[in-house]
């Protein structure tokens, strides 16, 4: 490597002078678009509300539903477990789909 190459290499690899922040970061942070937190909050409240409502409904309607189910089971060929599972899936499908696919 001749002198010219060596001098160029050294000069090129010399670390650059740091630029002081001087409020640049603050300008960037103030210029960031505000993200909407409405969707996230709504989803959290929906989940919490659904869980609470489900608990209340289960405790209030559990016994009457069980008797209705028993009647249905007696009048049809389905077992109570299958009917309960179908009802459970049906009641969850809507909120779960909304939580998963809404932005």
């Amino acid at each position: 490597m001749d002198t010219m190459d060596a001098r160029l290499e050294v000069a090129l690899r010399k670390s650059e002078t740091a630029i002081g922040d001087d409020g640049f970061t603050e300008v960037v942070m103030n210029g960031l678009p505000r993200k909407s937190h409405g969707g996230v909050k709504a989803r959290r409240w929906t989940l919490a509300g659904a869980a609470a409502a489900g608990s209340v409904l289960t405790s209030v309607l559990g016994a009457p539903l069980e008797s209705v189910f028993s009647t249905l089971v007696l009048g049809s060929g389905y077992s109570m477990a299958i009917l309960a599972a179908l009802l459970f899936i049906g009641s969850l499908a809507g909120p779960v789909a909304w939580v998963l696919y809404s932005k």
Partner: protein, 177 residues
């Protein structure tokens, strides 16, 4: 111990942690602004506007960062594309700059090789300036530079080789003067 870029990105994505994003900006503002100043031919105001735009784009797209590439690679790619978009919108001005403006010839003789090289780099094309900055100043490998600029590896190597030849010519000319 400094928190890794990936950890900071995760905090921004999962908790919308503004403090984590601010740390990223503070950590990268200087090298990024230096990179853009070199691309913008030392136009500090334009470079800072582009740097700000880069960080905003980074913030709005941060959820798409999957960690396969280095954070710096991703950031400089956004910055380079931001510069190119800006460059396209300034075609007339750029043509003037590239064809007629000669910062090296206009500048006063420099006291050091480093200053000479900085001035001589301005004579190279924008892409070559980006290649030189990323390789020599940011310490990236040829592969990493190719990845950032989305160029074939051979193009990066030839840009460096041709750029070095050009710099040598400029150096020799300056020493003859």
């Amino acid at each position: 111990m400094t928190e890794s870029e990936a950890a900071l990105v995760t905090r921004v994505v999962t908790d919308d942690d503004q403090a984590a994003f601010e740390l990223l900006v503070r950590r990268y503002q200087s090298p990024l602004r230096n990179f853009l100043r070199r691309l913008a031919r030392n136009d500090a105001d334009r470079a800072d506007d582009l740097a700000q735009e880069t960080f905003v784009k980074l913030y709005t797209s941060i959820a798409t960062y999957r960690g396969q590439a280095k954070f710096a690679t991703w950031l400089y790619r956004i910055a380079y594309n931001t510069f190119l978009n800006d460059q396209r919108s300034r075609v007339a001005e750029v043509e003037f700059d590239e064809a007629h403006h000669s910062p090296v010839a206009d500048s006063a003789p420099s006291a050091s090789d480093e200053a000479d090289v900085d001035a001589a780099l301005l004579k190279l094309s924008a892409r070559q300036r980006a290649v030189f900055d990323l390789h020599y100043k940011k310490g990236m490998t040829h592969h990493e530079v190719a990845n950032v600029l989305e160029l074939p590896l051979g193009t990066v190597k030839s840009d460096l080789a041709r750029g070095l030849d050009r710099l040598k010519e400029i150096f020799k000319d300056r020493e003859r003067d």
